[in-house]
C-alpha cells in the first residue's frame, strides 16, 4: 500500500510540475515577442528597422540626390532625397530626431526623422547625411518628414551665419528659410509685462504662461519694426549660454544674434547665440 501511495504521490507531483512547466511555456511568449517589440521600438512615422530597411533600399536602389533648387521645386508631399550637412540637433525622442541641416545652397529642416539613439550621437555638426523622406509644409515651415538617413563619409561643412538683418520684414527672407543666419544691431524691446505691470525683456512661452525650462520669447527691433525671436528649449535648453543670455537681456540693449531661420506662420528664428553689441 505504501508503495502504491508513494507512486500516486509521485504521479501527482509530476502532473503538478507539468503544470508549472506549462507556466514557463507561456512565460516564454513575451520572449518570443521580444524581437518584435524591439523592432517596433520606433514612433508612428518611422521605426528604426524601417529606417534600416530604407537605408538598405537607398544603397540598393539609389534615389537620385536632388540639388537644393530641385528640392525647392519639388511638389509638397512628394518623396525627396537630398544630401546635406548637420548644423544642429534639436531633439531625439523615441527613435526620432529633429535636425537642422544645410549645404552650400540652402537648408533643410528634418522633422522627426527615423534615428536610433546611437546614430543620433553620430550626427555631429558638419556630418554629411543623405536623407530620403517627404517634403511637406507645416504652418509655413517647409520640411522633410517620415525620413530615413545614412551618413555619407567624406567631407564636412559648417555653414557660416548669413547676415539677413537687412532682409527682415521683406518677402525675400523666406528664401533663406531654415538657414543659419545672423541679425546684427537690433534693439531689445519689451516682450510683455510682469505681474506688477513692469515691462520685461523676455517671456517664458509666448505669453508668459511658461516657466524655467520652457521656450523663451523676446522682441528686438530694427529700422523701427519689431520682430519676435525664440529660444527653442529643445534646441537650447535652460543650461545653455544663450538661455542665460536672454534671461539677462535688458530693454534698450543693442544685440547681435545667430540662429536658424525657422518658420511658424511667419518668420520665427530659433536663436542659438546672443551677444551685446559693443
Amino acid at each position: 500500500m505504501k508503495k502504491l501511495l508513494s507512486m500516486l504521490l509521485v504521479l501527482s507531483m509530476a502532473a503538478a510540475m507539468t503544470g508549472c512547466a506549462g507556466g514557463s511555456t507561456s512565460g516564454t511568449a513575451p520572449e518570443t515577442e521580444a524581437p518584435a517589440e524591439s523592432t517596433e521600438a520606433a514612433d508612428e512615422s518611422a521605426a528604426e528597422d524601417e529606417a534600416q530597411d530604407a537605408e538598405t533600399a537607398d544603397t540598393e536602389d539609389v534615389a537620385e540626390v536632388m540639388s537644393y533648387d530641385e528640392y525647392m521645386a519639388a511638389d509638397l508631399d512628394s518623396q525627396v532625397t537630398i544630401e546635406a550637412y548637420v548644423q544642429a540637433k534639436q531633439s531625439w525622442w523615441e527613435n526620432q530626431a529633429t535636425v537642422y541641416t544645410q549645404d552650400e545652397d540652402g537648408a533643410y529642416f528634418l522633422y522627426n526623422m527615423a534615428c536610433s539613439e546611437e546614430d543620433y550621437e553620430l550626427l555631429t555638426q558638419g556630418t554629411k547625411i543623405r536623407v530620403t523622406g517627404y517634403k511637406t509644409e507645416w504652418s509655413g515651415e517647409v520640411e522633410i518628414i517620415d525620413a530615413s538617413f545614412q551618413i555619407v563619409e567624406g567631407d564636412t561643412f559648417i555653414a557660416p551665419a548669413l547676415d539677413v538683418t537687412e532682409m527682415l520684414g521683406t518677402d525675400d527672407l523666406i528664401n533663406y528659410q531654415n538657414q543659419f543666419v545672423q541679425f546684427n544691431g537690433l534693439t531689445v524691446e519689451a516682450a510683455g509685462q510682469d505681474e506688477d505691470g513692469n515691462d520685461v525683456a523676455f517671456l517664458y512661452s509666448y505669453d508668459g504662461s511658461g516657466s524655467e525650462g520652457d521656450d523663451l520669447y523676446f522682441n528686438a527691433s530694427y529700422n523701427g519694426e519689431t520682430y519676435t525671436f525664440t529660444i527653442e528649449s529643445y534646441l537650447c535648453d535652460s543650461t545653455t549660454e544663450v538661455y542665460s543670455a536672454v534671461k539677462a537681456l535688458e530693454i534698450g540693449q543693442t544685440v547681435n544674434m545667430e540662429g536658424f531661420l525657422y518658420w511658424y506662420e511667419g518668420v520665427n528664428p530659433h536663436i542659438t547665440s546672443v551677444s551685446i553689441a559693443e
Binding site: S12, A15, E37, S78, E94, E265
Partner: protein, 533 residues
Amino acid sequence: MNRKRKIFSTVLLAVFCASSLTGCHGKREQTAFAVPESFDTSKEYEITFWAKNDTNKNQTDIYKKAISDFESLYPNITVNLRLYTDYGKIYNDVITNISTGTTPDVCITYPDHIATYLTGDHVVVPLEELFSDESYGLGGSELRFDSPAKDEIVPQFLEECSFGSHYYAVPYMRSTEACYINRTYVEALGYTLPDVLTWDFIWEVSDAAAQKNADGTFLLNGQEVMIPFIYKSTDNMMIQMLRQKGAGYSTDAGDVQIFNDTTEELLYTIAEHTGSGAFSTFKISGYPANFLNAGQCVFAVDSTAGATWMGSDAPLIDIAEESLTDFEIAVRPVPQYDPEHPQMISQGPSICIFNKDDPQQVLASWLFTQYLLSDQVQTAYARTEGYVPVTLSAQNSEEYQDYLSRAGEDNDDYYSVKIQASTLLLQHAGDTFVTPVFNGSASLRDASGQLIENVTKSVRRGETVDDAYLETLYSDVAALYHLNELSAPAGSRQDLGPLPGTAVALLGALAGIWVLILGCLLGSRLKRKNKNH
C-alpha cells in the same frame, strides 16, 4: 507665432512602463495609503503640483492664485507648481519618476494615463476613503474652505475617473470637441447651416469648397490655400465616428475592436475626401484655428478648450494680422451620423494623487486637490476657455450663470465663441461619452488616430488606398502600438476565457490521482479497523 508643435508620442511608453514598472515591484513597494485621523498642522509639508495649461497665461495665473489662497488657509503646506502645456509630456515625466520614486504629489492627467501608472503597486491613491472621510473628505467638517460634497460633483464626470473598481482621480475641468464654422463661406456656397451637422453635409460642403479656378487658386477664397475641413485630434475623430456608427472600439476589459468593417468604410470615405482636397489634419497641415482665421478653412474641429483661438475677433491669434479675414463664425457639435441622437466625446483634465510614505503628505495633497474643486477655482478656470466646471455648485453659481449670460459683451472674458463652446457642452452633457480605461488604452487611442493620419498622408502622396493597403496598415498600427499586449486595469478581473484542453486534462489527472490516494488511504484505514476488531 505662438503655439508650437511639440507633440509627445505615447507610443513606446506603454512598453517602457510595463517593463520599468514591473521592475519596480521588487525594488520599492509603496504601502497602501490609510487616511490619518487628523491633519498634523505642526509640521511643514511641501507638495508638488504638475499642472497643464493650454498655453494660456490666464490659466497659469489662476493656478498661482489658487495656490496662494490655499497656502493662506494652510500655512504649513507649500505647493510647488510645475507647468506643462502637453498631457503627453506630463505622462512621460510621471512614468520616468515612478521608476525613481519621485512622482509629483498632485498631477493633472487623463484617466487613460492613470491606468498605466497603476501598473506599479500603490502608486496612485484610490480616493474612496478620502471622499467619505467625515473630517477631511468631500464637504468634510474640518476643512478650512467650502469643498463640494460628493453629490455636487457632476456624477457623469466623476464616474469617468472610476476604473478598476476605484476612483483614482477627480475631474478638474470638462470639455468636448466643437466644429467651428465659417458660416459666411457655407452660405456663399449656397448651403444653409443646420443646427446639428451631419457627416454627409460636412463632406458635401467641403468638396464644394475645394473647387479651384483655372489658375489654381480656390474659387471660394481666391487664395492658393484652402483646406475646407481640418480635424485637430484624429483619435477623437475616429473614436466618435465609430461610436456614432455603433461600431466597436474596445471592450471594458481592453479587447481591441477597432479593426472592423466600419473602420474600413470610414477610412475609405476619409481617403476619398482627402483625394478631393476636402480634408486634412493638424498633424499634417497645422492648427485648424490658423486656417479658419485666415479664411482657408470652412470647418475646423478642435476642443471647446481651444475656442479662444477661433474667429477673426478671437482673443488669442496665432497668425499675422494681415492674414486675418473677417467672417461670421458659428459653433456646432461635431458632425453626426444620427443627428437625432448626437454623440460626442467627453474630455478634459482630471487630478490624481500619488502615494507617499507619509500619509500626512498625501492628506495635504488631498486638501489641495479638493481646493481645486472649490467654486472660486472652478468658475475662474472654466472662464479661461470653453470648459465647464465639474461641480454642480460652480455650474449653478450666480457668478458662472452671470458669465454665461453675457456672451459677446467683449472679445476677451465674454468672447462669444468661447461661451458658446461651453454652452454647447452644458447642453449636450447627456450626449457625451468616454472610452474604456485600461492599461494601454492611451495607445489604442493613439492608434485610432494614426489610422486616419496614415490614410490621409498616403492619399496626399499619391499612394493607393485599397484593401491590401488597409490590411498592411492595420497590421503595422497594431504592432506599432502593441495592441496585442493591452490589459485590463489593475485591480480588475479579466475574463481569460475557457481553460485550454491540456490544462483541463492535467487538472483532471491531478484530481484522479488524489481520488486514488484518498481511496487508498481510506481502504487501508478500513482494513486496519477490521483487523483491530
